[in-house]
Every structure is written in structure tokens, then in C-alpha cells.
Symmetry: C2
Subunit: 432 residues, 2 copies
């Protein structure tokens, strides 16, 4: 048995399928973001400056002075780690405080923090569905891997409803009868940027007495009056049984969480091995995350500028004839449709233009829908957008990628945004 040979061949297989991933070694600069240093060669300390256009620290809260201050303060006061699982000396005051902030954010009894969003979905879905007798899980077809893992881990029967298809969901709910049912879905799907009809889902779940579990990881901090997510914005937060969110995107740090009734939180913290047997988030991370949540409850400025920059970017790319995939969110996907070309486009952007946008290939998206996924942040400026358009047009031409008909649509007036930097620049010119 040649063990080494198997692993070598498994990697060769990935390379042959153009799925082998090279992680770019980036040094983010808290102050100068989106500017960062890139180390192209792992064997050298040589760096070159790049602009990051694919960060999931959507609001750049990871670089907010309050957040950084809270991290450093917690490190000085409490040290760098929690020192144990939640049960074995690892429940520290900053994490208790964070959970109270999160419960308050979603107007729920309680919240529970995990070391990642992936684990929070695995733990919560499998435990909740697993405790309910003969539970049927109804899962949206495009749910994230971590939700699918939670569904599988529960051992429950599952049925997949066509993505955002309310008629199909209702059909399955009716067919299920009065057994226990858990409807699991995302509020904002991160690769296409589309938003679920959360009001309709809640209405159907209530009508057929199903529990609801929503993943709001790409929405918390960014939508709703206080950053409670799409369900807050749509006024249905109170109707959802379990809200799952992340601390690693809109809140700029690390970890995942759920917010729900006290009894549900108590059940998950008591029964989920992935929670029980894991060291708690450090005080530094909990304090940083809590600072971000607190800030975004009061401040709508980051949200407004974030939306404004996303709209502006989409607009400018469309005006240049680049194939932006339409959606109503802050995600700006640009279709390539081929794994190799997608990787080539990403490489050329980085090497020729100092712009970092990771190719999104299978298994993250379906084969044939490979894309560049652009995530403007409040720290991107009009000048960054102009550079981006210019670079993408150059890459599209260099690789012979398809343009679409240029769309010049007047921007909606930015009624609520006073920032003068947000006025619409002449992007069309820059793109040519």
C-alpha cells in the first residue's frame, strides 16, 4: 500500500480538473485597507501592493478603531485565550457580554457563540432537528455547505425545495402533514447575491406549523435598522425561530452564533458535541465582535456607504459592458463561465493590475457558472472603482472574454447618503 502515492494522485486529479487552489499570502493593512501587501513567492519576503476587492469583511469593521481597541484591551486584561471549553473554565465575561449583545440584536431570549459559522450551522441544525421526533427538514436547494452538513449530521429525513420557490416549499409542507418540520434557508445567497422571500417563507411556515431556521451570515451588520439582517429589514425577525449569523463578515472578527428562545439555546449548548468539546472564542475575539455589533446597532453610516459603493460598482461595470449578474444586494458577481478562464482572469488582474479578486470555481459554484465575485466595501473609493473597471476591461479583452451590451442606467438618487465622495463619477470614460 503506497499511501503517499494516493495523496499525490488526489492532488494531480484536482490540478487536472483545474480545481487546485493557491492561497494568496496577503498582508492586510488595518488603516490603509483595501490596500494590502501580497507575497507572490513563498520563498521570498518580496511584496507588492494590491487592492483587495473580494473581502468578506464587508463593512471593514475588522479595521474599526473601536474593534481594534476592544481586542487590545481584552488581550491586556484577560490574555490571548479562553483557557478551556465553555464548561471547563472557558466561559469568560466578554463572551457572556457578546451573547447578550447578539440576543438583543435579534430581539431573542438568548444567543450562543461558536468558533465559526460553519460549526454553528453544523451544531444547531443537527441538534435542533435531531431532538425533534421524526423531524422532516425542508432545505433550500442552494443552502451553504455548512447547512447541508448540519442537515446530514441530524440523521433526519430531508427534502430539498427549489431555490426560493414558494410554490414548491408549500407543496412539500402540505405533503409532510403534521409531523415536525424544520425549514432551513439563507436570507442572502452569497454567490449570486439574491435575497430570499423571507416574508413568504415565514407565512408558509406559520400556516403549516413548521419551525424556521435562517442563515443570515451575509446580511447581519449590513441590513436592517440596527444590522439585524434581512429579517429585521423585512419585519419578520420575531417570527423566525432560529437566526444564525457570523462574527467574521459584517462584524469583522471570527466565529458564528445562533439567537433563539432560551430553551432552544439551552438545548444546543447542552447536546451539540461540536460546541461542548471546543475551546471558547478568546476574550479578544469576543470583545472585538461585541464592539462591532454595538457600533453597528447605532451607526447606519457604514451600511449606507456600503450599499452606495456596491451600487456604484455594479453601475460602472455594467456601463463598461461587463457581465454583472443582477441582484438586489451588495454582492457583485461577474460571470466568466469557465474555470480556467476564471483563474486566468484572476491571475491577470493580480499580476498586471495589482487587483485581488479570487476566482470562484466549483465546488463553491456549479460548473459552467465560474465567476469573479466582487465585494465593494465602504473603504473603496470612486478612484478604486474607476481602476477596477479599467482593469477588468483590459483583462476581458486580453483573454477574449465576452462583453454584454453596455447598460447606462441613471443611478437612483442617494437620498440618505451625505458623503460627498459618493457622487457618481464618469466611469464610462475610465472603462474605455
Amino acid at each position: 500500500m503506497d499511501y503517499r502515492g494516493f495523496f499525490d494522485r488526489s492532488i494531480e486529479r484536482l490540478k487536472a480538473e483545474r480545481r487546485y487552489r493557491v492561497f494568496a499570502d496577503l498582508e492586510r493593512d488595518a488603516v490603509r485597507f483595501p490596500r494590502a501587501l501580497w507575497r507572490p513567492d513563498p520563498k521570498s519576503d518580496e511584496t507588492s501592493e494590491v487592492v483587495i476587492w473580494c473581502s468578506n469583511d464587508y463593512l471593514t469593521m475588522g479595521g474599526h478603531p473601536d474593534v481594534i481597541g476592544a481586542v487590545c484591551n481584552a488581550a491586556q486584561r484577560h490574555g490571548a485565550g479562553a483557557g478551556g471549553t465553555r464548561n471547563i473554565s472557558g466561559t469568560h465575561h466578554p463572551i457572556v457580554d457578546l451573547e447578550a449583545e447578539l440576543a438583543d440584536l435579534h430581539h431573542k431570549d438568548a444567543a450562543l457563540a461558536f468558533t465559526s459559522g460553519w460549526v454553528s450551522n453544523l451544531a444547531a441544525i443537527s441538534t435542533i432537528a435531531g431532538l425533534l421526533p421524526n423531524c422532516l427538514i425542508l432545505s433550500d436547494a442552494l443552502n451553504h455547505n455548512s447547512m447541508i452538513e448540519g442537515v446530514r449530521r441530524s440523521g433526519c429525513e430531508r427534502q430539498i425545495w427549489r431555490h426560493n420557490d414558494m410554490a414548491h416549499l408549500e407543496e412539500l409542507l402540505i405533503a409532510a402533514g403534521d409531523r415536525a418540520k424544520l425549514v432551513v434557508f439563507e436570507s442572502l445567497y452569497s454567490m449570486d447575491g439574491d435575497i430570499a422571500p423571507v416574508k413568504d417563507i415565514v407565512r408558509l411556515a406559520k400556516k403549516y406549523n413548521a419551525m424556521t431556521y435562517v442563515d443570515e451570515v451575509h446580511a447581519v451588520g449590513m441590513y436592517g435598522e440596527r444590522g439585524g439582517g434581512i429579517c429585521e429589514r423585512e419585519g419578520v425577525m420575531a417570527d423566525i425561530d432560529v437566526i444564525e449569523g457570523t462574527l467574521a463578515k459584517g462584524f469583522g472578527t471570527l466565529g458564528g452564533y445562533i439567537a433563539a428562545d432560551a430553551a432552544i439555546i439551552d438545548a444546543v449548548r447542552s447536546y451539540a458535541p461540536s460546541f461542548i468539546f471546543t475551546t471558547a472564542l478568546p476574550p479578544t475575539v469576543a470583545a472585538g465582535a461585541a464592539a462591532a455589533v454595538r457600533h453597528l446597532k447605532k451607526s447606519g453610516e457604514e451600511r449606507a456607504r456600503h450599499q452606495r459603493m456596491a451600487m456604484l460598482t455594479k453601475h460602472a461595470l455594467k456601463a463598461a459592458g461587463l457581465p454583472v449578474m443582477d441582484n438586489p444586494s451588495h454582492i457583485v458577481p461577474v460571470m466568466v463561465g469557465d474555470a480556467e478562464q476564471c483563474k486566468a482572469a484572476s491571475d491577470l488582474l493580480l499580476e498586471r493590475h495589482g487587483i485581488y479578486i479570487q476566482p470562484i470555481n466549483y465546488p463553491t459554484v456549479a460548473i459552467g457558472t465560474e465567476r469573479l465575485r466582487i465585494t465593494p466595501t465602504p473603504r473603496h473609493t470612486e478612484a478604486h472603482v474607476a481602476e477596477l473597471v479599467e482593469a477588468l476591461v483590459d483583462v476581458w479583452k486580453a483573454l477574449g472574454l465576452k462583453f454584454v451590451e453596455a447598460q447606462i442606467v441613471p443611478l437612483r438618487p442617494a437620498a440618505k447618503v451625505e458623503d460627498p465622495r459618493c457622487t457618481y463619477p464618469d466611469m464610462k470614460r475610465a472603462a474605455e
Copy 2:
């Protein structure tokens, strides 16, 4: 369908079985550790001072100035989060640096960091065994939950060998024939504190051509010339295929890792969903952990004092007739043997003596073997040990728990420890 009722009843069930866990809200003090503040009432900000005796920050590296300095420096320079998965802009230079430190620690080609030890076992065991055709996993009977989850997730056939039983392992290896085999075990079992016969396991694995996977989470930082763990101490580190460790115990921060051949690391990072779909550890955590690893490679002082304090504690407890479970490691388990009494002992220690030692009940240990698990650190002093013995004796008497025959054994000379605080105090007197 009354959903709420099910969750309420699941919690009542736990309470009836005396398995309901109350997390103590502790505020660790980086400088004054093991002293900490405890908030007994979640509704009040009132605190009382306690001494922590059950931290898994075994060497108190979480409070080391180099580690705290590295955390703050990284926060100031790079911000509070990674900003994405490893593939989507989340590979930052501090995590690349950390992985190089870890690979060097274990003299392996490469290492891979995860957000927790739990996830590292889940991801690595399931991916490695899953890639090998028709792999049989041979798993020690007392392996940690995270390893069991990894074994299950792999979908491979598994056989359990009796804990540390080499004859049984050999029997299973012979019976397996020449198919692919992965032997998974821990180097140091954290609840009993016993150490695996790693040399013998390696010898058998080589003889029958099996791959080896060792979990060293309770040993890295603490054993071996440079803190490489039990396998380093026993001179078999190079013979082990995959070493899994944690950054959250001996290295005082958060996260887990594996170190192995480049091809194995490449396979795990490319195929494991729990790795692919998770935001990377923040630069702060990576930089703090790397500082701890670097420090412990050079400094043996913490290791020596840690062992000395563990030995001293065991000695003092035995001299007072407390039922210490014998073992050759730094773990000091004291047997209670009943869930309710174990909880009562822990409560009384906390409320009457200001000493925090979490009860260890089922499912962490088997029913009937409930215990107090004491973890002396280099920051515990002789005075702390004297107080501990006095408090435990009082609690044992108050609850009518069983004493054993007092064992007064001369301490081994502390040849390599120069710290004058480590001389043996008159513990016997304090205990009476």
C-alpha cells in the same frame, strides 16, 4: 406539534439526569492568574475573587507578555479578522508564518491551521481516511469526541482497539491484511492523564504498513525538548504520519492544526469542507499562537515548573488521603464517582473556598467515574496548593466523600528546576 415543549422537556431530562451544565462566568486576569473574578448572578455585576484550578491554558501562555504583545501588534497592523476563507482573501501573512512554525516544531513538510482542534480532527481524519481506497480505521477506545466524529464522517469501516492495548491493536492489524489502514490515537488522554505507548504503536504500524494519526492536543508545548509533544519526547515524531495539535491549550490561544507531508496537507486543505468553507483564524490569534510556539521551542522553564507543580499537587493531595487517580502526566484527576456529589463538591469549593474546579461528568467521562480534574499551572504557587488541599479536605468531610489511605512518598529530587518557589512545603499539615 408543540416545538417549544420538546426543547423544554429535553432540558428537563438533562436536569433529571444531573447532567445540566451551568457555565461559570469568569473574568480571567492576564497578570494575576490563577486569580479571576467570578460573577455568580447573571443579573448582577457583583463579583467575587476565585482561584482557577481547571484551566487548559496549561502553561498560562495566554498571559505571556510576548503572546499578548503579538496579539495587540497584529490587531493594530492588520485588524481584528482575516476577512474571508483561506481561499477568498483570508490567507494572511501571520497564518502563513504560524503554519511554518508548526511544521518546523514537528519537523514536517507543512502544517495547516483550523479554527479549532475539534474541526481539525473532523476535517483531517475524515479526509485522509476518505481518500484512501477501502480504508480501515483502527481507533483507540478512549479517543476524544472530535476524533470519533472524524472517523464517522469518513464513512470508512472502523474497529476499536481496547485502550492502549498493544496486543489487541496487533490482532486487528493482522486481521486487516494489506488493505489501507489508519491508526488513530491520542498521545495523552486528558481525563485520566495516562500516556499512550507511542513507540509501540509506531512499531506495530510500521510492521503492518498502517498510517498513523496522533492527537497531541494535551501534550504540545508541554512535552519534548522543544514542546513538540510526547512523540518528540519519545523520539518517534518522524515516524508518525499526521500529528494533530491545538493552539488553545499549551499555546494559550485558539485553533487546531495538523502537521504532515506536503501531499497530505495539500489533500486536506483541498478536500475538507469544514476547512474550505470557514473563515481563517484572525491575524491576532495566528500571531499570538506563533509567539507562544516560538517561545516554547527555546524555553524549557515553563515546562519544568509545570511538571513540578503538577507533581507537588498530586503529592500534597495524596498525603491528605484524597483519591488522586495515578498517572504519569500533568493532569490531576480526583475521583468522586457520582454525578451529584461531583457537582456538589465543585459548588462547595467555589462558594465556600473561592476555588474553581469544574465537575467532570458524563458524557465527558463514563457514569460512575465522575471526578474533579485539577490542572496545576506554572503560575500556581505552593500557597495555592496548600489552600487547595485544605479546601478539598473540608469539602470531602462536609459531603462525606471517601478518603483513601494517606500516601507520604518522598518527592523525586527536582534536579532540573532551579526556581526556589518550587521546594516542597509541609502540605500534610495544611490538609489536616
